[in-house]
């Protein structure tokens, strides 16, 4: 098993923390993991992306040009990374604010309305976990939910542990988006 994933969007959408929770969940599932962010001023509101690799084997390059799964959360990221999905791979994008839709027929594309789903939950901070839910549902690698919860516990500071049920709810919501 090996999943090479990039999550890209605006700074402030929780891109880096989603990557961290994903990586920690993989670690709890006994996988090798890497988490490589873009860093610097772009963290302050510009675009942000993070490459997460989950694998049974030792991971070589933490930096990639082609991905099994691309998650694009704004138009800029979609334009940049849609061409970088490997043939047969997966593209998940949030339809909110997207005017140019991707047209590739050699990959599986999941447009999701994560923003609306988040509003239904009533806490905008849960946005990245809705997206995470869609990813967990779409990935061929089935990460057991118990290890995702463990990953959440490891990633979030103790004072935020009361938010874990909300995060679980958001992940479930994201899964449903894909099942529709």
């Amino acid at each position: 098993m090996k999943e090479e994933i990039i999550i890209a969007g605006f700074g402030g959408q929780g891109v880096l923390s989603m990557g961290k929770i994903l990586a920690y969940s993989g670690l709890m599932d006994d996988k090798e993991v890497t988490w490589m962010p873009s860093y610097g001023p772009e963290q302050r509101g510009g675009t942000a992306n993070v490459t997460v690799i989950l694998s049974d084997e030792k991971i070589s390059s933490p930096v990639l040009d082609k991905y099994d799964v691309v998650i694009a959360l704004n138009q800029q990221s979609l334009d940049k990374f849609a061409p970088k999905v490997k043939p047969g791979g997966i593209l998940i994008y949030d339809t909110n604010g997207i005017h140019n839709r991707p047209n590739r027929d050699d990959i599986t594309i999941y447009p999701i309305d994560a923003m609306d789903a988040t509003l239904e939950i009533g806490n905008s901070k849960a946005y990245n976990m809705v997206v995470m839910g869609a990813l967990l549902e779409a990935m061929p690698y089935k990460l057991p939910m118990e290890n995702v919860v463990k990953g959440l516990k490891k990633s979030l500071p103790e004072r935020h542990h009361k938010l874990i049920p909300l995060n679980e709810q958001a992940i479930e919501k994201g899964r449903e988006l894909l099942k529709k």
């Binding site: 961290k20 990586a23 920690y24 670690l27 090798e32 993991v33 890497t34 988490w35 490589m36 962010p37 860093y39 610097g40 991971i59 070589s60 390059s61 933490p62 930096v63 990639l64 040009d65 082609k66 490891k154």
Partner: protein, 361 residues
């Protein structure tokens, strides 16, 4: 603290590793992309647990001179910075080397020259391996390629520093500093007691207990004949280090047609390129110098034997390639591939470089 598996950034891992090694003091000044080292230490408050001193200095210059002071007393002390800050530290590093003091310096390299960029780079290879500061001296230079090696090299670095009474540099880059990976943190070691330090470092200037002769730590010797002797002693030590401490890693070197030489995180990008090249039927081996000084000259020479060409991949305009060329004596083509200014090459680009620079010829 027991051995522990964690997911953390290379920079955070350095902080944890320092505490667990039993490091006595850290002195630093914030600069991207390595500020998490100081931030993590301040958050962990090791002065409450192990008694380790952590201090945000007023400058990189002050920080390295605090390291000089701490090292002069036999304590295990370190600093960290990134390229422009490490330039500022060079005077102090030269003094530490000249006075034969043990110390650990981390450079999480970013793109230069000048203020440059905060993105990853390996353009301080010359500075780290060929001197950096003034005078004939060498640092032992360790190049980590994983977050685990960031942890391991803190321990290895301090051990080597004390074994040879010589400063050690961990030459990392923004990738390995900023990325998160699974790490196994070692068990907490106790810090040495003052009595143990006095025993281990009888040369240290920490107060002349029990009427012993005074200890003076200095790099000054105005008498040329004596200064030459000091230099010869340093050189003899460097030959000893070359003999004992050269480290490298080889991947699929036997049976390969082409050899890549790369260090740090870039060696991992090259490892992915090796896989991609193999899919195309191109057999590539990799040699990764782990000590950049002493450089694994003989290992590179041996690994290059029978190959059709060597590609030196580094995030600079061609620095390590000089050592690679010296190692292979121009017996076969040695080409360079690198990206500059903080751009990280993709594994695909490395494969393309093999095709155009070595096979296409």
């Amino acid at each position: 603290m027991k051995e522990e598996v964690r997911l953390m950034k290379g920079n955070e891992a350095i902080a944890h590793a320092a505490i667990r090694y039993g490091c006595d003091g850290y002195f630093g000044y914030p600069i991207t992309p390595q500020s998490e080292v100081l931030e993590t230490l301040e958050e962990l408050m090791p002065w409450e647990t192990t008694g380790m001193v952590v201090l945000q200095a007023e400058s990189e210059v002050a920080a390295i001179n605090m390291v000089y002071g701490g090292a002069a007393t036999g304590k295990a002390v370190m600093t960290s910075s990134s390229s422009p800050g490490v330039s500022l530290k060079q005077e102090g590093i030269s003094y530490i080397a000249a006075a034969s003091l043990p110390a650990l310096v981390l450079n999480v390299m970013r793109g230069g020259p000048g203020l440059g960029t905060i993105q990853p780079s390996q353009a301080d290879y010359f500075q780290a391996t060929k001197g950096g500061g003034h005078g004939d001296y060498h640092l032992i230079v360790l190049a980590p390629s994983t977050v685990q090696e960031m942890v391991d090299f803190v321990g290895l670095g301090f051990d080597l520093a004390f074994k040879y009474c010589n400063p050690v540099m961990i030459l990392a880059d923004g990738i390995v500093g900023q990325m998160m990976e699974k790490v196994v943190l070692p068990e907490q070691r106790p810090r040495r007691t003052d009595e143990q330090i006095r025993e281990q470092c009888p040369w240290a200037a920490n107060g002349r207990k029990d009427g012993r002769k005074r200890n003076v730590i200095t790099s000054l010797e105005l008498e040329s004949a004596r200064m030459e002797v000091i230099n010869h002693k340093l050189q003899a030590k460097y030959r000893e280090i070359e003999k004992n401490e050269t480290r490298w890693e080889e991947i699929d070197v036997d049976g390969a047609d082409y050899l890549i030489v790369a260090f740090g995180s870039i060696a991992r990008i090259c490892d992915k390129a090796r896989e991609l090249a193999a899919e195309k039927g191109i057999k590539v081996g990799i040699i990764r110098p782990i000590t950049l000084w002493p450089f694994p000259t003989e290992a590179v020479e041996k690994a290059a034997q029978g190959k059709k060409g060597v590609l030196c991949v580094e995030l600079n305009a061609g620095q390590m390639i000089e050592d690679v060329r010296l190692a292979v004596h121009d017996r076969l083509p040695v080409e360079h591939f690198g990206r500059l200014g903080g751009i990280i090459p993709s594994p695909e680009e490395v494969v393309e470089a093999i095709e155009t620079k070595l096979i296409g010829k």
